[in-house]
Assembly symmetry: C2
């Protein structure tokens, strides 16, 4: 089965992201707005229980932490993805690293850029139009992250939550 | 914020339900196929933490249990909802009761009919058409339920998981 690991930000931030995703993100109906910690990986039904247990242990080593969203950005020229940029503070970078250490597949070739996607699969013209207006908007949002989730993908491409992991270090 | 409590059945059962929901359920993109334990209720951000803690305690009193899906059924004449019927064995009925005891709002006027909705908001003609074909289909599916989830609703009507509760009694 295909799994992924994400953080769902607060309802307020998800609602804001969705106001853009509705128009600019074809994945709008497949998954709520999220910060990806580990993108799609394939695991069988037996191993996933072990992985879930390890992720519980990982979560116990982390305390809840603050994230700051400051602006919209884009992955262009790599791809036409527009996103809300999250400051890569040590806490979220460390959590990303710890979560990826649990899944024993090939490590990502990309460095971790914590973000919430609000637009993707845009044509070059669409991307320019949307991004040129969004890049001027300032965002000044801060909130606490205290959990992350393990999800699996259904045949229709949508994602269901398998388990929640609360950051429990005090 | 608006919350709800559901069981997500296995991927196999969700995929099967979605093959019908895609055509017959306007909520198809808002939430994965599910068994509702507690429908929408309103709680503030502080009380929900207490409720989550209580739900963890509830989950510890229950062992994983089997559910059996045997056929399609309909809530007509109450409403034009078509669903996969889950045998109301004591385990799921007890879990429903325990979960509802945690949320201190007005108790439901309806008796609990465990089910997975596959069609709703159908016109009378649509309902007759779809149900007359589905009611002849036999389903013979059994699986283990070992967790349930607390969800909240976004402004666009879709649902995000807040927390997972594993049935931990051995």
């Amino acid at each position: 089965m295909k799994y992924g690991i994400v953080i769902f930000p607060s309802k307020a931030l998800q609602d804001k992201a969705n106001s853009f995703r509705k128009r600019y993100d074809p994945h709008y109906a497949l998954i709520p707005p999220h910060i990806t910690l580990k993108s799609t990986f394939e695991v069988n039904d037996v191993d996933i229980k072990d992985i879930a247990d390890q992720l519980h242990q990982t979560a116990q080593r982390f305390a809840p932490f603050q994230i700051k969203v400051t602006k919209f950005s884009s992955f262009q020229p790599v791809n036409n993805v527009i996103y809300m940029k999250i400051i890569p503070e040590p806490e979220i970078v460390d959590l990303h690293e710890a979560v990826n250490a649990v899944i024993a597949d090939s490590p990502s070739e990309y460095s971790f850029v914590p973000h919430i996607t609000v637009g993707q699969d845009l044509s070059n013209d669409e991307h320019s139009d949307v991004y040129s207006s969004l890049r001027l908007q300032e965002i000044n949002h801060e909130e606490t992250i205290d959990r992350f989730h393990l999800l699996y993908q259904l045949d229709n491409g949508s994602w269901t939550v398998y388990e929640t992991f609360r950051l429990r270090k005090e």
